[in-house]
């Protein structure tokens, strides 16, 4: 059973650490630096930097186990990667965590060198258990059962399978609950949902603890879009467009805008008939990727 890690996002939003993106689980082909005890937050799939944690010495004896596969904290978990609540008891722990995350047994922490040695560590937040049926081990948002449930809901609301005029793009914000879990909040109902677009307001203000936004493209790769507003040419001709499963320029643009507005780690997700696509809004080869369809 894999743990749910989200510390980098939460810590980044607390303004304490610039650890940037969701950690990735190790794969058989790519050794995970975190397992060596050196990395507190492995590099995310979009290549952003994470900080290096020094090895923790002292503290209580932590049993050896696979930090990715065992739900109990174990050797290799220098910092709990759950998301702390600002001003909560976990917050002070973060402040003294050497680089990032929420320390456990580290220097200056309960049970660690310089700590009081006796006071109990703060209660661990409940860990969200990912849906292990999904073969998308590198993204804790996609493997979140709560988010998969949201994916399922908005996909159903998108009316894929019905004629194009009845389809609707749907979407919402993915936020951290502050305790290692994720939540989904649909976009306001006042935002227009149409077959090929969502009508955002001119000024978009996401929730402060946003980590991503997701929306549907209720189409499959190669499908001809017949109901998009922009099909009407000036000469009156209507031309269907071919859908290719890529984030639209607008999708990238709004993600860029969010990141530039201070939501520096926000990602976009698109779910369509074929797959899940994540994107950061940059026009680089590493700014977009996809997973197998999962959870919807």
């Amino acid at each position: 059973m894999r743990k749910f890690f989200l510390g980098c996002v939460g810590v980044a939003f607390s303004g304490l650490v610039a650890c940037s993106d969701l950690p990735t689980a190790p794969t058989s082909s790519q050794p995970d630096a975190r397992l060596s005890g050196l990395m507190g937050c492995p590099r995310g799939p979009d290549g952003e930097n994470c900080y290096t944690l020094p090895p923790v010495s002292g503290g209580p004896t932590i049993p050896a186990c696979d930090p990715w596969m065992d739900a109990n904290w174990c050797k290799g978990d220098q910092c709990v990667m759950g998301v702390p609540a600002v001003n909560g008891p976990e917050f002070s722990g973060i402040a003294s965590c050497p680089i990032g995350g929420w320390p456990i047994g580290g220097p200056g922490q309960p049970g660690g060198p310089g700590g009081d040695g006796g006071s109990p560590p703060p209660a661990k937040p409940p860990l969200e258990q990912p849906d292990t049926a999904c073969n998308t081990p590198t993204d804790q948002i996609v493997t979140s059962s709560a988010i998969q449930s949201a994916f399922s809901t908005i996909w159903q609301q998108s009316n894929y399978g019905l004629p194009h005029p009845q389809r609707r793009e749907q979407g919402g914000w993915i936020t951290s609950d502050g305790f290692g879990g994720l939540q989904f909040t649909p976009f306001p109902s006042s935002w227009a949902r149409e077959p090929c677009r969502i009508g955002f307001p001119a000024q978009v203000t996401p929730p402060p603890n946003v980590v991503a936004w997701v929306h549907t493209h209720p189409y499959r790769n190669g499908e001809l879009l017949t109901e998009c507003q922009q099909q009407q040419l000036p000469n009156g001709a209507r031309v269907p467009f071919t859908y290719r499963g890529d984030p639209s320029w607008d999708d990238d643009d709004i993600t860029r805008s969010l990141r530039q507005a201070g939501y520096a780690h926000v990602r976009g997700y698109i779910i369509d008939e074929d797959k899940i696509t994540w994107f950061t809004g940059d026009d680089t080869p590493t700014s977009v990727g996809s997973y197998s369809r999962c959870g919807y």
């Binding site: 307001p201 922009q230 467009f241």
Partner: protein, 139 residues
Amino acid sequence: MLNMGFLIGVLSALTAASADVTAAQACPTEVPNTRVLVERFLTRAAHEPSRQETGLTGTLPSSIRLLQSETDDAVCARLNTAIGSSSGQSGPWRWTYYTAGGRYVVAMQYVSPPGERRVGFVPIFVYDASMRLLGTYAM
């Protein structure tokens, strides 16, 4: 003494004719964020099937060239006819003409109305040298 009415009529006719020629042959001015659509079409992995359909596989973004008046008037006139407008804009839409890999590409952007930020697809149209529409793609 000149007949002023006749003179005004002649001048008006000449002005109208000149405007028609200009409108029919001018290439639209480049619109922001349209070149990037063509670049994405040429580089994004998801659009590889589209590149195959249009014969643009392997075409580099560096080969994209803006069609400009004077040098490309004849081509722009044909594209204007295909699109149905010579102004480069219609309603909320603005577009630019490019050529790359022996194809002509019309890339459109949408200008959102006040108070809204539309998040949807924008199209590009790919034509061959004979102005045959090879494909239209959501970007």
